[in-house]
Subunit: 292 residues, 3 copies
């Protein structure tokens, strides 16, 4: 909780503009790590690799989201960092998505705070000037899939036990419009419609087939393939690439940026309903039984 | 004409909101039928099957559209009905589409009345809270294709003598913007452009290939496959699925809902032109010669 | 320069409406040619073939764009011309795209004049009432690709030495929003995003695969295949086809038409930057070295 309290100011600050001044600088640094993130920043290539290591499954709690946002902001402001690879240090999972515990039995204020952090991560990733590549070395449901589709390119481990998708509907909750639009921009309207209505999770081969990921490689080559692809992307004239990326994404980003408060209110009203709380409780009990 | 007169009030009422109160209730009913529709409603599964049986080819006349709209409204209001399968009882055809006789030699008022019913059917189907599946057991041109693409899922008989598509252009008429947007939402912009400009009809395999239908099965298994698929859809948390469906479709629906009168006027002005009337006459004569 | 001066009035006139009166008529003519264009107009079929013959690689200079616009306007106004095939008389290239010399070391006024002509060509082609087919018998980068994707249909020579794509980013410049939207309307959002950010050029087989071209044929059959396809398109009821085409494209066209001045200013500000001028100089030097 201490970390979160300390970082609140930064989050609210950065929510008003893409970047805001920070007193921290790590331009001389090669590596950094916070509780749940390990960042390897290779100064010679300008590429940072962000390893998510929040046990057991990189669930996106408010604390973890806050750490991610701070790291993203620092990297974004660091002129020596031109590319970002996001991957997982946890076995078999990229990220399990939004932490259900943050949505169950919490006050409206706390739910709103949580949702604001989810928005913030999406805004930072989808609007990043860096080249962003998701090295998806495990399952990637819901919020994990969202992180992946905000990136410029997705490489997934070709392991049929893994899956990826925006499966919120299966939990009885609803992906908001900006999850939906990111998905439409990736796999088109019809794939998004059927995928979101059924809460589908796709095996790697299926995900490749509909364009939800761009490339499959053997599990032990995900990070090296991401590094190779990054080299190719960093060879592109940078300014033109950045303006082009912004042109492709700005209308979607603007739609959330100008509706953040209403979107938070919408989420809070929905998630605090008794019926939805009941759905979440049933889902958590199902998860417990699976483990037992 | 008596049926139509009796139902006019309902149609105009329902055109202002999604649902309006009706004194009729058939929550205890298992089956119902009007002149040209047979509805089998299985109360245990919550699935209704609507068989179109308007000889010879389920052409969408004003009377038939009115029947369909009333049936859809009743099912929509019936809490015991959660899924709707639409299929045909006529051999070799799902629906031949809008009845040309309703567009030829008719007064502007009558043409406007007809078009309002077409709008109403589209609004009810595309915005339905039920899971809707088209069991396409025959050819499905023009308005028949429109009915199909308003559904959540399309299963077609794998018979190369059947075809499906928005082929209005071949008749010299123009699919309105909401036909177009439903098509874009299904097969994307480029497929829609080439398909509408050329008035293309697709064989089942081609339709599957561009995503115009979701699944092909042998002709005698269309309905059973639809029933199986429905079971899968009905297992999804209902409230979340409905909100998601609405999120995917509401901007398209809103565009027509807020422009119905202008869209009617546009259709009436176009269809009553002498040149268009001549096209329709030629088309009908061609059809007669084909039969002879 | 004389040609350009003579034609300035026409360009500015046509920029305010789709068509404006011209005193020239060539309805009795079978063939015409200006310095860099040869037009074969077959009065019996109503099909004009526009051969680009501006050595060495059909670069789109201000003069050449002006010639193309005048020809397009004349054909558009000629009721005897219903279809247009665009092809190249230069070996191995359809068009190399916008002439870099028009963007390097020029005054802001001149750059603005050039960009206005690029806009004009796009407006005339993308909004044409004629059936337009690109017979792509050579490489077609950048502006050459733009010309191709404004057409109703694209047939490309199946020669793996040729390529096609909006590769502006590789030159350090940025495709404007209307290039982008034409591309999205052709190959979808995700293909456009990755294609524009990386400045990709596609081999014919790859281009077919993502839908950037519609058909591949042996190199010596490009024009005959285009002629055959044209026959099919001209058999479609014309008025309905034209209205449908307009419906599919008008929102994109309107977006540029109502923002031409701002778009010109945006281009001029960008292209006259010292950093961009430096990029262009480096690119031209690279081209020279390639030749030597």
């Amino acid at each position: 909780m201490a970390l979160r309290a300390a970082l609140r100011g930064l989050l609210s600050c950065s929510s008003h503009g893409r970047l805001c001044a920070s007193s921290t600088s790590f331009s001389q640094r090669n590596n950094s790590s916070s509780a749940n993130l390990k960042v390897d920043h290779d100064q010679t290539t300008g590429v940072a690799v962000m390893h998510m290591q929040s046990p057991p499954v990189n669930s996106l709690s408010l604390d973890f989201l806050t750490e991610i946002c701070i790291t993203l902001e620092k990297l974004e402001m660091d002129k020596g960092c031109r590319g970002l690879i996001i991957t997982s240090s946890q076995p078999k999972v990229f990220s399990a998505g939004l932490d259900i515990l943050e949505m169950y039995g919490k006050s409206p204020e706390r739910c709103g705070e949580f949702w604001k952090a989810v928005q913030e991560m999406w805004l930072k990733l989808y609007g990043s000037n860096m080249v962003t590549i998701a090295a998806i070395n495990g399952s990637s449901p819901a919020g994990g899939c969202l992180m992946s589709i905000t990136c410029d390119y997705r490489i997934m481990a070709d392991n049929p036990r893994y899956s990826i998708g925006l499966n919120e509907t299966m939990l009885g909750i609803v992906a908001p419009f900006w999850f939906k639009e990111t998905m439409v921009n990736t796999v088109g309207h019809r794939n998004t419609e059927i995928s979101l209505e059924l809460g589908l999770l796709y095996k790697p081969a299926e995900a490749l087939n509909i364009g939800l990921v761009d490339q499959l490689v053997p599990e032990d080559q995900v990070l090296s393939a991401a590094t190779q692809t990054m080299t190719k992307w960093l060879a592109i004239p940078e300014h033109a690439r950045q303006i082009t990326k912004s042109m492709m994404r700005k209308s979607t980003i603007e739609k959330l940026r100008s509706n953040r408060e209403a979107d938070i209110q919408n989420f809070v009203n929905f998630i605090t309903k008794e019926s939805i709380q009941k759905s979440l409780r049933m889902y958590m009990e199902m998860l417990k039984q699976k483990k037992a």
